[in-house]
Amino acid sequence: MDIKNLTIISALEDLRSKKITAVDLVEACLENIRKHNQDYNVLLTVEDDDKLIKQAREADATDHSSPLSGIPIVVKDMFSTKNLRTTAASKVLENYTPKYESTVTRKLKEAGAIIIGKANQDAWAHGATGENSDFEPTRNAYDKTRVAGGSSSGSAVAVALGMCLAAIGTDTGGSIRVPASYNNLVGLKPTYGRVSRYGVVAMASSLDTMAHVTKNVTDSAHILNITAGADPYDATSIKTDPEDYLKSLTREDLKGVKIGLSPDFKMATLDKKLVKKIDESLKLFEKLGGKIIEVPLPHTPESVETYYILVPSEISSNLARYDGIRYGNGRSHFGAEAKRRIMIGTYSLSSGYYDAYYKAAQKVRTLIIKDFTSAFEHVDVIFAPVAPVLPYKIGEKVNDPLTLYLMDIYTSPVNLSGLPSLALPAGFVDDLPVGIQIIGPPLSESRLFSIGNAYEKQ
């Protein structure tokens, strides 16, 4: 059975009408894993076949009324999964098996999902290409020689290669949107706090969001319906009840929708090859009836600098617990990128430097947030590219961290501001996928889905 183009929604229909079984789905995933995992380095841990088939049989014994009944899902290796190894793609946690379940994976399981395995990623989610994995980089589903995009590299490629129907990842500075775009998929980074962070290895706590990658907007809305909500175990989770996001997918056109475009975003180093494609995508929004309005975001050019002070600061503290006493491996097992970020962060927080770095960056962060707040007084959503370049060749930039940091130019301001953003496929350049994103004000996920759905239908 070919599941590469199968969405969750149609799979559920087929399951409920008994056209297919959950066992069929799981076997198809396992087949694709056998075929591709070795080459593409997608999954770090695959659940035992027997256990998966057993779960599928149990799902098939029901009427599949649960929202994710029998649906195979892959989870980024940042999420604690009880009794299933969780490494964050770092050698430090190579032998760590959690004794507890993250809120997101618990909710998925309760909804009937079958967790196929744990996805490769940049170690600790530090990276935009996937090459910082301590266990071989994941390869792009459209070109094996190129990067998959990161840090949720394995999550995106697992969906693209049919190892699951949807995958869960995290997005701290673009980590779901970049790999989704690089593999022609839909990636949602929800509002900060909309989805619980409990049980997910922390990268930068004030920016981390629990995101997911799917084949279309409807599936994305469906997954958010399950993962969103307040969590008594996460003090930063948003108390407001989530909406029914599937109900938002009614729009056929974009009449009356004001779409913001920032000249400040254009200043960034967008690869010339991409300009035409991105413009075409924007034209499509106009064709659907959307009105393009220029909005200034004057502080966003400072986003990358701000991001690379605040994020490493939080990282240096969040990684302190891996002290070699628990979890087996010591601090010498940290990879180069983790070490670099620990050092930058430790420096930024040190007395004498705190005011000049951490505190100054916090102030700029506030200005960036204000930019967006003002912009959303005039527009409904803001349009932007996802990545400024096409996927690099694997190894092409590994010795150039500064260039790699600039990959976050369009994505990091969104995380600094805690906003939701939906990354959508925009076609191909040189046979490689390109993505755009629509950014909304806090808790505007329904709006993003509704606009994204209209765009996707074209």
Binding site: M78, S80, P98, Y198, G199, D234, S317, A320
Partner: protein, 460 residues
């Protein structure tokens, strides 16, 4: 010629007696509990676990702040204090740095010269306790074991300005602080169990003979000595006293030689009866404090504050003053009664009981006070109403005719010949039995009966 003036400041840690820990649902109780049984992903600092602040602990810290006359910050937040130690599973302690819950309070004490001294309280903040290491030998190998039952127990830190000028003042402050915390019912403040811990810092100022005396803390603000010795490992008030006295002498001797004592941390060694240097401290350690991103900032509303304020009970000083006024007791007696809230409450309940018998009270209030203080009444065993009856009985029985008592004893002995025989054979424990029987027959004071029964037995 110089005189020397000790300058002492205090950091006191008090573990809150909340049911659950500071940031998770584990029981906060840890003393004498099997190691690592009161733990969960949060207090073990497992990857991905997140802290959720304990509302009660926040309220109690505010309560203590208010009781110490502090200003409560409308905006408060938690910060991370980053340092490595094997008993700190996250590699940082969640504490409060920039915006503690309470600041700028004070506590009035009376020193040995009967001078009223106002000790300024710089801040009262909330943090989490660490785990505990046990250094032990297993199979002949020296090893360290970590117990995380204590990890994440709520801990309040009360920091004073360097306002103490003598060891006695420190002693008075600690006793008063302990009393207040116990009154509020927020901590056992048991030094032996570690639920109250002290860290004094001490330095000695040299004062030229002609300069005016340094009585008030403020005079020192620009003249504090440029070094400071922190004292650790002090687990009783007595050790605090000894360690401070030792330091005063040690530092004075160094100053006499024209040298400056080293800025350092010293621990009290009971075995050596001396303080000994711990790790050297050069200036401030770099804890890389920054705002805890896992916990949103706290906002304390006026409404919340008003509700908490209402929970402050009458505190020891106020209670003592009221007892003096309301019951015409001496300051000494009132203070003794107000020492412990449950004793004070018991006293008032007993008095109420006595006064309820109109038109005239059953017994004078001073008698009730004296009985409670002098006879060490077990307030958990004797109900207040029973106490009044006991006092009454003792008064009546003391007036009872000696011959009446004699008659009863004769009767009891006659009715219990075997007991009397047993006594003669040397079974002395029958005395208790005979006293008990007599007690049932008349309204006597126990001591009075005991004396009479024993006397009679000796004469049989």
């Amino acid at each position: 010629m110089n005189t020397y003036q000790p300058i002492i400041g205090l950091e006191v840690h008090v573990e809150l007696a909340t049911k659950s820990k500071m940031f998770c649902g584990c029981p906060a109780e840890h003393f004498g509990i099997e190691p690592n049984t009161h733990t969960c992903p949060v207090c073990l600092g497992l990857p991905g676990a997140l802290p959720v602040p304990n509302r009660k602990a926040v309220e109690w810290t505010i309560l203590l702040g208010l009781a110490l006359g502090c200003q409560i910050n409308e905006h408060s937040k938690f910060d991370r204090k980053n340092y490595f130690y094997p008993d700190l599973p996250k590699g940082y302690q969640i504490s409060q740095y920039e915006e503690p819950l309470a600041i700028n309070g004070s506590l009035e004490i009376r020193n040995s010269k009967s001078e009223i001294r106002n000790i300024r309280i710089r801040r009262v903040h909330l943090e989490e306790d660490t785990g505990k290491l046990q250094h032990t030998t297993v199979n002949g190998k020296d090893i360290s074991l970590a117990d995380f039952n204590r990890s994440g127990v709520p801990l309040v830190e009360i920091v004073t300005e360097p306002d103490f000028r003598s060891v006695d003042e420190v002693d008075q402050y600690l006793k008063k602080l302990q009393k207040i915390v116990r009154y509020l019912g927020i901590s056992g403040t048991d030094m032996e169990k570690g639920s109250m811990r002290l860290e004094p810092s001490i330095s000695i100022a040299q004062i030229a003979k002609h300069s005016r005396s340094y009585k008030h803390g403020k005079d020192f603000e620009h003249k504090l000595p440029d070094y400071r010795v922190e004292l650790k490992n002090i687990n009783s008030f007595r050790f605090a006293r000894k360690a401070l006295e030792y330091e005063i002498q040690r530092q004075t001797e160094i100053l006499e030689k024209g040298e400056t004592p080293t800025q350092q941390t010293r621990g009290w060694s009971e075995a050596k009866n001396a303080t000994i240097p711990q790790r050297e401290k050069e200036g401030e350690s770099d804890y890389r404090y920054f705002p805890e991103p896992d916990i949103p900032p706290l906002r304390i509303s006026n409404e919340q504050l008003a509700i908490i304020n209402k929970q402050i009970p009458e505190l020891p000083d106020a209670k003592s003053t009221r007892f003096q006024k309301e019951f015409s007791l001496t300051e000494h007696t009132s203070n003794l009664l107000a020492e412990d809230k449950s004793v004070a409450d018991y006293f008032e309940e007993a008095v109420k009981n006595s006064l309820a018998a109109s038109p005239s009270p059953l017994t004078p209030i001073i008698d009730v006070a004296n009985w409670i203080i002098n006879k060490k009444i077990d307030i958990n065993q004797t109900l207040p109403a029973e106490l009044i009856q006991q006092i009454l009985r003792s008064k009546q029985s003391s007036q009872i005719d000696e011959s009446e008592l004699e008659k009863i004893i004769v009767q009891v002995f006659a009715e219990n010949p075997k007991a009397v025989e047993d006594y003669k054979k040397g079974k002395l424990q029958v005395v208790g039995y005979l006293i008990g029987v007599c007690l049932k027959k008349g309204n006597f004071h126990q001591a009075q009966i005991k004396e009479a029964v024993e006397k009679k037995l000796r004469n049989v």
